[in-house]
Symmetry: C2
Subunit: 304 residues, 2 copies
């Protein structure tokens, strides 16, 4: 099966610590790499996991707090030193262009590729990227600054042809594309061979949503209903629940409540605060609401 | 003895690799911390070595290439999150103010302390910092962009009084400061007690020079003569010597030649290129010219 894999490069919050790097992830969709957030040190983690720098085409930045974007300059600079020539696209909320461009012009003036920053509004869900493999919609989040999550939906693939059946029914090559796309086959004598005899259904398209940083907000539920994997921030344990709304963050239980109400298949908790020596408490609290929960950690890879 | 200790946080070049972090060091002078250069990931190394963030008062940036300054924003942001209130001074060549200030104003607008950027010219050696423990002069270097090294000279300390001798000669307390500073003691009967009877000489002031990045240039020799420790870049091995001048870098042998001609006590090689799987070749080449050479490495601490 073609890849749809999420690798965590960083799942801490606020500042890099010895336990966690700041936020960054890589979603590999059929061997194209999409980066989500890019805190300081991301390029080193990217290198550690042996991702190909040239396969990285787009970076999605959720919001302009340092722990989600301070790794951009270093990463872009390294791509230049490695001789990249293909354009790099960065999707981000308003202001990144103004903040990053002067540094790009100064530090990367000899860079052999262009950096194209596409800014999006964070007030409503928008389609911000679309190719033949995947679409990406923003998910408006509730934080102290404009912030959006990202919903990656794999595109449905064509059905798979069953070679033996095509041969048996003598389907000419010219008909095969139509059959892949769902058409029945009509023989010269008028006999109809139903599509389902000639094909195996394509694998169900996969889906992933990234929701960090955000206070609890049920408005995101319709956007992420029934998806395969939800990464939801869980900055606080229940004992500190009163701090969550004011700081624009969620508790583990709140993340699990969103997962449960949206009927997602699996929940991954992340954006860990350094205040908890062991994130097990977050896992236990979330599992009391939504059983299929796991903790993010640097290096883990979820194959969907 | 009070501290005069150099700790290497990063000694790689160009991009962070799995072997080396980009340039950064901490010089601890009598428990005040001076940072030299600040590549991406520096704050994490700083944390790893358990330095107190509050003891960091000044950062010296040699030049505006990313591997020497991309860690500044993350470090400054973390200092703010930790509630620092004391001003932070950054000494750097021209342009850092223009490049950094817009990001500081945006990302650190709630920061409880001020960042004061003091820009220096890199064309001649200047005194850029001076307190009662140490002075810092720039060292003009020869690189592709304006670049300076830094010479740290400990201030001479007062001589140490010998308690037993003061008592024996009945030196009144009011005279002691003068004696510390070198005066003889004249008794009421006119007898002169020479200073050297009453004091032990202070320890010899220590000195350290950081020279990265630079092509070979003998003009720096008079500035660093007889110092205790010289950190000199050695980006290239002898086999690649033809690449050094054009890129504004040095070979290990050139670093050693500078060390030898300046009669320094010890040479530390750094700014390692990822092209050499083992830096032993650089060490061997340098030692053929200057025996007391060591390799920099993340975490090593030279106590002077």
């Amino acid at each position: 099966m073609e890849k749809f894999e999420l690798t965590i490069l960083g799942c801490g919050s606020a500042s890099p610590t010895l336990q966690h790097n700041p936020s960054s992830q890589v979603l590999n969709v059929r061997d194209k790499l999409f980066m989500i957030d890019c805190g300081e040190g991301t390029q080193k983690e990217f290198r550690k996991h042996k991702f190909g720098f040239n396969r990285l085409t787009r970076i999605f930045i959720s919001h302009l707090h340092g722990d989600h974007c301070f790794g951009l300059m270093g990463l872009i600079s390294t791509l230049g030193l490695l001789g990249r020539t293909g354009d790099l696209y960065i999707h981000a909320p308003k202001s990144l262009e103004n903040l990053l461009r002067p540094q790009l012009d100064y530090f990367c003036r000899e860079s052999p590729f262009k950096v194209i920053i596409e800014e999006f509004s964070t007030t409503e869900s928008r389609l911000i990227y679309d190719d033949r493999s995947v679409s990406v919609h923003t998910i408006p989040l509730t934080h102290r600054v404009p912030c959006a999550g990202f919903l990656f939906r794999e595109k449905p693939k064509d059905a798979q042809l069953i070679g033996e059946m095509l041969e048996y029914h003598q389907v000419p090559i010219s008909e095969r594309n139509k059959i892949k796309q769902g058409a029945d086959f009509v023989k010269e004598d008028g006999t109809v061979i139903p599509n389902k005899v000639l094909t195996r259904p394509a694998a169900t398209p996969r889906s992933y949503a990234y929701c960090s940083d955000t206070a609890y907000n049920e408005r995101i539920i319709p956007l992420i209903e029934n998806i395969d994997l939800l990464y939801h921030e869980s900055t606080f344990a229940d004992a500190d629940a009163d701090r969550a709304p004011n700081t624009g963050h969620s508790t583990a239980k709140q993340a699990a409540t969103i997962a449960s109400k949206a009927n997602v298949k699996k929940l991954m908790l992340g954006h860990f605060s350094s205040r908890y020596p062991n994130n097990r408490i977050l896992l236990d609290e979330a599992k009391s609401v939504f059983a299929n929960t796991i903790l993010a950690n640097e290096g883990i890879c979820e194959k969907l």
